[in-house]
Amino acid sequence: MPAERPSIRHIAIGLAAIGVRGMETATRAGWRTAVIVGRPLGATWDSRVAVGPRAALAAPVSRLATLGEQAEARARDDARKQVAAAVEGVLTNRLVAETVADVLSRGVVDRVAVAVIESPEFERAVVAGLDSPALEQLVARIVESPGLERAITRVLESELVDELSDRLLASEEVHRWVEQIAQSDEVRAALTQQSMGLVDEVAGAMRARTASADTVAERIARSVLRRKPAPWSRPPPMLPERSDRE
């Protein structure tokens, strides 16, 4: 069977494959050589022998680092300015303003606020906050602080308080409040209860005295009539001592 004649394309592909394989082999060999040679070179570079070359290279490296830092700072500054401009653009955009107004007019914020307030998580957070020892300590520190005491004393001693109390006492609104409070059922009930308590106290004292007078009058009457004392005025029989009972 006669051999088929190879095409140019196949020959080119074969040559390329050989080339790639050769490059790969060469690269590996080069890398191994670099590793083998690089170790003593690195040690030599770090040793005292290479002080001169290191110093010669230090200046241009430092300049490069400085240039890099300056470039980074400029980039950050530019980025900040761009972000600020973008935010300014958003805030001054009429569409954003209209959207916010639309959201407010539809009561979205109210609904969200109500939902947040009515949520058990919010309640738990508030309760946890109120129950936290940190809040208690903070309040205690504020209350016990001499600064607060001085401030309160200063306010109380100022003429502002006198003027405010004079105005309050002279205002009709306060008079109406006082009248409403005085006529409220709760206050009347409290006053009645207090009055009844006083009556009960007086009556209790009178009862105790008349009860004693009962006994005295009875004792006198029985002695006049030479009758034996009432059963309750006789002392109860003495109980035997423990040793007697045993």
């Binding site: 007078a213 009962d214 009432a230 006789r234």
Partner: protein
């Protein structure tokens, strides 16, 4: 020396004060009612009210009725009159039960007899072991200090 035991039966002085308070209340009410009635009748009748036998009899009947209603009503409904409440007293039957209308009416009759005998029926309280007056004997009742009025103890 052990102290004497405090009796649960109400004595002469406490009951006397309660009796006085009740009479003051009744007299005050009766006076107001009588005056108002007289003023109204004097305004309505052409010749006014003449203090004659029928009017006096009507007043007496009214007074007796009011007294009966006052005492019997309070004894039966509340177990104490306002005067007894002020003095911390209650009236119960000798078995500790509430006072019924029959017992209350008999007790009221005893009160009337005690008054008619110049208070002798009341003085019986001083010498009776359960501090019962004539009215209590007739009505089958006891008067107790309110704080001591456990029904079991009254029996």
């Amino acid at each position: 020396m052990p102290s004497p035991v405090r009796p649960m039966y109400a004595g002469f002085v406490s009951r006397g004060v309660a009796w006085v308070v009740d009479n003051v209340i009744m007299v005050a009410i009766a006076t107001v009612v009588t005056v108002v009635t007289a003023v109204v009748l004097n305004a309505i009748l052409p010749h006014g009210v003449q203090p004659d036998a029928p009017e006096i009899l009507a007043t007496a009947v009214g007074w007796a009725t009011f007294t009966t209603l006052y005492f019997v009503g309070f004894w039966v409904l509340a177990g104490q009159t306002p005067g007894m409440r002020l003095m911390g007293l209650v009236v119960v039957r000798t078995n500790g039960a509430r006072v019924g209308v029959g017992h209350a009416l008999r007790r009221l009759a005893g009160l009337v007899i005690s008054i008619l005998t110049l208070g002798l029926g009341f003085l019986l309280v001083l010498v009776d072991d359960r501090r019962q007056g004539l009215a209590d004997k007739l009505g089958g009742t006891l008067v107790l200090y309110a704080g001591e009025s456990g029904l079991a103890r009254a029996a």
